[in-house]
Symmetry: C2
Subunit: 199 residues, 2 copies
């Protein structure tokens, strides 16, 4: 046991906590202290949950989302419309789409978006798998539901190019004024888009 680990027995835990996104050394110290001093049961639960997720969660072979089975419940649901494929960035986005209850088609989860700032390029999101999935002979329309941020738009643009080149119909979620918002407080870019795309 080294001198350092004796003087700072929580050092390995603090270093490991820094793998969490957005956690610097001060936050990691605070987390380690809290877990060891105030919530050891929570710490053990976290360790078990990590190991359990690592050992049991895989990617669905069709839509690429996280799943306990090789094919996720949505992809194996025979009641879904196989002619429509909705492309989202993350499982959280898929869950948001599902909560609307307005969509009965299938999904493809990119598990990311193109973001040069974070070193995520076109090769790092599942474009090859998406292409294979979209060209299964049943999909007629691909609905792009990536974020309406710079990175999400760039991702949507790239995916659209790729799929249109293969002769697929590609649509994008409508941009516009959010339901329930007062026009006065909506940003100008959104109003401008809503005006151009008025119907």
């Amino acid at each position: 046991m080294s001198e350092t680990s004796d003087a700072q027995p929580l050092q390995p835990l603090i270093a490991a906590l820094r793998h969490l996104p957005g956690v610097g050394v001060k936050t990691a110290q605070r987390m380690a202290f809290h877990l060891m001093q105030r919530d050891q049961a929570g710490a053990r639960q976290l360790a078990h949950a990590l190991v359990h997720a690592l050992d049991t969660v895989v990617h669905c072979q069709r839509c690429h989302t996280f799943s306990h089975q090789p094919i996720c419940p949505i992809c194996s649901d025979s009641g879904r419309d196989t002619a429509r494929l909705c492309v989202v960035e993350t499982p959280a986005d898929l869950a948001a789409m599902e909560r609307t209850g307005a969509y009965q088609g299938c999904y493809f989860v990119l598990m990311g978006r193109i973001s040069p700032m974070d070193g995520v390029g076109a090769a790092d999101i599942g474009l090859a798998q998406l292409l294979e999935r979209a060209l299964d002979g049943q999909v007629q329309e691909v609905i792009l539901a990536t974020s309406f941020t710079t990175e999400g738009e760039a991702t949507a643009h790239l995916v659209a190019e790729l799929l249109r080149a293969r002769g697929l119909q590609v649509t994008r979620l409508a941009r516009g004024v959010p339901v329930g918002s007062e026009l006065e407080y909506v940003d100008l870019g959104t109003i401008a888009h809503a005006l151009v795309e008025r119907r």
Copy 2:
């Protein structure tokens, strides 16, 4: 396996991550996604570090800080001045004192401070152990090095009352203008204290 765990396979991990202080459900989702999608090695390292810390780290029987041994390296160092006992809030504060190189005495780590807002009362910090430690017959001066915040001051006040009632000499770290600061940018309370306690 329930319907819910199938639809949200990361749910147990997200719930466990919320044991970390300051982590809400959105942050926990982001952390779980990041670990599973981008840093599985880091996730496994974190699980191991948690279990290792829980299984090997104990409180030093004399100073109460985190330690791998029943008596920590500082408490078992025969070169330390046993007549002086410095009371700090956390192991991080102890480490800060050590880094100054200006203190050769012993420590007692409260592992917290009185904070009614967070439900931490006088009974939750190690006052009984501190009293026992301070009355070992060797300690002549107890130096209070709790934070100069409302909670830290309240803690220092309570500890001072308790120890002075037992006839011990109790001192507090000096309040004043931080080294290297320009007076113009120092807050007024600090300047006022520095003026009153001028020497």
